[in-house]
C-alpha cells in the first residue's frame, strides 16, 4: 500500500476528533451537571464547564431514594439474566451448530427474528402472565424477562462461535476416552471461553441499561436504577442535577466494566472477521 499523504492523515484525525467530541460531549455534560446546583444548570453556556462543584445532588438522591438497593437490584438482575442466557443459549446453540435436522436453518432464523420485533409488543402479554404467576415486582420475574430477550442474541452468536470450532476437537477427545458431554466440558467450553465472555458482556450491558420492562414489571421491591432516574422530574420541579447524579451512579460501573472488558467486546463485534 502506498504511504498516505500528510493531508490524508490530518483529515483522518479531524474527522475522528469531531466524532469523539460528538459522542463524548453528552457524557461530559452529564458529569458536570451532576456536580452543579439546580441554579447552576441554567447559568448559561459560558459557565457550562466553569463553576464551583458541589456534591449536593449526590447527597440528595441517596437521602431521598434507596439508590443502593436499586443499584443492587440492577446488578442482580443483570448478572442473573446473563448467566441464564449464556447457559441455555449455549446449549441451544450447540444443537444448532452440531446437529443436522430438518428445518434447522429456519429455526435458527426464527430464533433471531424474535429479536427483531419491538419489545413493547410483548410488554402487555408478559405483564398479564407475570401478574397471574405473581412475578410482578420480583427480581426473578425481571431475570426471566431479560433472559428471554437475551436468548436469541446468545443463541445466534454462540451458534456461529461453535461452528467455527472444528468438531474434530470433540471427536479427538471422544477417541481419547471421553464421553460426548465430557468432551464438551473439557474441550469445547474452554476453547469457547473468550467468546462466551464477549457475548456475556453484551448481555450484561443490555440488562443493566434496560428501562421499558423494568418500568412495567417493577414497582418498589425489584425496581432497578434506570427506572428511578426520571422520577427526579416531578410536577413541581425538573431536577436535572439529580437526574445527572443518578445517571452517573448508573453509568460509572458500566464505564469501568467496559474499560476492563474492552478486548473481549472487540472480539465479539468482529466475530468471524478474522481467522484465528
Amino acid at each position: 500500500m502506498a504511504p498516505k499523504s500528510r493531508a490524508y492523515w490530518i483529515a483522518c484525525y479531524a474527522i475522528l476528533a469531531v466524532y469523539g467530541v460528538f459522542t463524548l460531549l453528552p457524557i461530559a455534560y452529564l458529569i458536570v451537571s451532576s456536580f452543579k446546583t439546580q441554579q447552576q444548570i441554567y447559568d448559561g453556556v459560558a459557565s457550562t464547564f466553569w463553576f464551583t462543584p458541589t456534591l449536593d445532588s449526590y447527597r440528595f438522591i441517596f437521602e431521598t431514594k434507596p439508590i443502593l438497593q436499586m443499584l443492587t437490584n440492577t446488578a442482580i438482575v443483570s448478572v442473573g439474566s446473563t448467566l441464564f442466557s449464556l447457559v441455555f443459549g449455549t446449549i441451544a446453540a450447540y444443537g444448532l451448530a452440531r446437529y443436522k435436522f430438518r428445518g434447522r436453518d429456519d429455526l435458527a432464523f426464527y430464533i433471531l427474528s424474535i429479536r427483531m420485533f419491538p419489545p413493547i409488543v410483548a410488554a402487555l402479554p408478559i405483564f398479564m402472565i407475570f401478574n397471574s404467576l405473581d412475578l410482578l415486582d420480583s427480581k426473578i420475574g425481571l431475570i426471566i424477562a431479560y433472559t428471554s430477550f437475551n436468548l436469541p442474541f446468545v443463541v445466534w452468536m454462540m451458534t456461529g462461535f461453535i461452528k467455527s470450532v472444528p468438531v474434530q476437537l470433540e471427536e479427538a477427545a471422544m477417541v481419547d476416552g471421553q464421553s460426548q458431554l465430557g468432551a464438551i466440558r473439557d474441550i469445547l467450553i474452554p476453547v469457547l471461553r473468550p467468546s462466551i465472555l464477549a457475548v456475556g458482556i453484551f448481555c450484561i450491558i443490555f440488562s443493566w441499561n434496560e428501562f421499558l420492562f423494568a418500568l412495567i414489571l417493577t414497582k418498589s421491591q425489584a425496581k432497578t436504577l434506570p427506572v428511578a432516574i426520571p422520577e427526579f422530574i416531578t410536577w413541581t420541579e425538573v431536577g436535572w442535577n439529580y437526574v445527572a447524579a443518578a445517571g452517573m451512579v448508573l453509568v460509572a460501573p458500566v464505564l469501568v466494566f467496559s474499560f476492563l472488558a474492552q478486548r473481549y467486546m472487540v472480539r465479539g463485534m468482529s466475530m468471524g472477521a478474522i481467522k484465528d
Binding site: 471427536e171 481419547d176 471421553q178 474441550i187
Partner: protein
C-alpha cells in the same frame, strides 16, 4: 495388538447409499490403506470403525470383540485427524496426557509416558508450547504422539498428511511407516494419495462409490489392476488406454496397425499399458509401431513423452540418461505388461497373464 474386522458394513444417509456391503479383515500389525477419490466413502468407513458415525447395518470387530454398539471411548482405538485436532488451549504435554488423565492414571506414570513418547517423536523440547506455536510438521508429530500414548489396539489415520507441504509429506510418510512397524500397531489409513498408499501399506483397498474395486499388495494393484478404475487411479502418469479389436492372436489398433500377441482375449477390448513399460527406440523392429512425438516433459529423473501412434494418443515414460531418438521413433509393447479390460464394466480380462 489387535485385528480389525469389518463385516458387511452398509451406510445410508437418508435414501442415499454411500457404502454398500463393505467387508475387510485387517490382520494384527498390518497397515492397510483405504484409497479412493474424494466422496468414495473411505473417511466414512474410518469414522464408523472409530465409532464417530453410526452404521446402517453390519458389524465392527476390534480385537475379537464386537464394538458396533460401543462409544468411541470404549473401542480402544486412536485416531489422527486431517487437521490434527490438537486441543488449542492445552500445552503439548497436556495434549499428550489427556487420554491418560481421563483414565485417572497416576501423575508420575503420565509424566514418564509423555517423556517416552515425546522422545520417540522428537517433540520433547516442545512440551510447554501450545499447538498454535508449532509448525505443521510438529503438530503432526504431536497428533501422532497423542495417538500412541495409550498404546491402543489400533491406529486410525484420516488423511493425516494432506495438510503438509510436499517435502514434509514425503518425510512424514517414512516416519509414520517406521513408527508403525516399530510399535507393531494395526493400522487403517485413509488417503486419496496413491503414492502414500503405495509406499506405506501392506495392503491397499481401492474404493470407488463406496464399493471395493480391488484389495491387494501395492505391487499387485500396480501390476494387475482389477479394473479400469484401479488402472487409471494408480500410477503417474496414468496408464495408456486404447480401445481396439482382438482376434486372440493379434490386436488391431485404431490406426490400422496390427500387433501380434501370443495370447489375448478376443473381441472388442480396452488395452492398457503403463507409460514406463513402453519401449521407445530409434530403430524399427518386428513388432514396433511408428510414434510421432508431440511434447516432451523433463522431470529430471525421467522424461514424460506425449505423442501419437496414428491418431491414438500415447504417453511414454523414458529414462533421463538415454538420448531420445533424433528422427523417427518407434514404440513396442512388451507382452508381459499388457492389460486387457472389457469395454462394459471395465473389469480385467487377463487374470492369468
Amino acid at each position: 495388538m489387535a485385528n480389525i474386522e469389518i463385516k458387511h458394513l452398509k451406510k445410508k444417509f437418508g435414501a442415499l447409499e454411500v457404502i454398500g456391503d463393505f467387508s475387510l479383515q485387517v490382520d494384527d500389525r498390518e497397515f492397510i490403506s483405504l484409497l479412493g477419490p474424494s466422496g468414495c466413502g473411505k473417511s466414512t468407513i474410518l469414522r464408523i470403525v472409530a465409532g464417530l458415525e453410526e452404521l446402517t447395518s453390519g458389524e465392527i470387530v476390534i480385537n475379537d470383540k464386537v464394538v458396533t454398539p460401543l462409544e468411541p471411548k470404549d473401542r480402544d482405538i486412536a485416531m489422527v485427524f486431517q487437521n490434527y485436532a490438537l486441543y488449542p488451549h492445552k500445552t503439548v504435554f497436556e495434549n499428550l496426557a489427556y487420554g491418560l488423565r481421563i483414565r485417572k492414571t497416576p501423575a508420575e506414570r503420565i509424566k514418564k509416558r509423555v517423556g517416552e513418547v515425546s522422545q520417540l517423536l522428537q517433540i520433547d523440547q516442545l512440551l510447554e508450547r501450545r499447538p498454535a506455536q508449532l509448525s505443521g510438521g510438529q503438530q503432526q508429530r504431536v497428533a501422532m504422539g497423542r495417538a500412541i500414548m495409550r498404546e491402543p489396539a489400533a491406529f486410525l489415520f484420516d488423511e493425516p498428511l494432506s495438510n503438509l507441504d510436499a517435502k514434509l509429506r514425503n518425510h512424514m510418510r517414512v516416519e509414520i511407516r517406521e513408527l508403525q512397524q516399530r510399535l507393531g500397531i494395526t493400522t487403517l489409513y485413509v488417503t486419496h494419495d496413491q503414492v502414500e498408499a503405495m509406499t506405506m501399506s501392506d495392503r491397499i483397498v481401492v474404493l470407488n462409490h463406496g464399493a471395493i474395486e480391488q484389495i491387494g499388495k501395492p505391487l499387485e494393484i500396480y501390476e494387475k489392476p482389477a479394473s479400469l478404475f484401479v488402472a487409471t487411479f494408480i500410477g503417474s502418469p496414468s496408464m495408456n488406454l486404447i480401445r481396439l479389436k482382438s482376434d486372440g492372436k493379434a490386436l488391431e489398433l485404431p490406426s490400422g496397425d496390427r500387433l501380434a500377441v501370443e495370447r489375448a482375449p478376443g473381441g472388442e477390448v480396452i488395452l492398457g499399458i503403463r507409460p514406463e513399460r513402453i519401449k521407445l527406440s530409434g530403430t524399427r523392429s518386428g513388432n514396433s509401431l511408428p510414434y510421432a512425438i508431440s511434447l516432451v516433459e523433463e522431470l529430471g529423473s525421467q522424461k514424460i513423452i506425449h505423442g501419437r501412434v496414428g491418431d491414438t494418443e500415447l504417453t511414454v515414460a523414458f529414462p533421463e540418461d538415454v538420448p531420445l531418438p533424433a528422427d523417427g521413433a518407434f514404440v513396442s509393447f512388451p507382452e508381459g505388461h499388457l492389460h486387457f479390460f472389457d469395454t462394459g464394466e471395465g473389469k480385467r480380462l487377463n487374470r492369468g497373464l
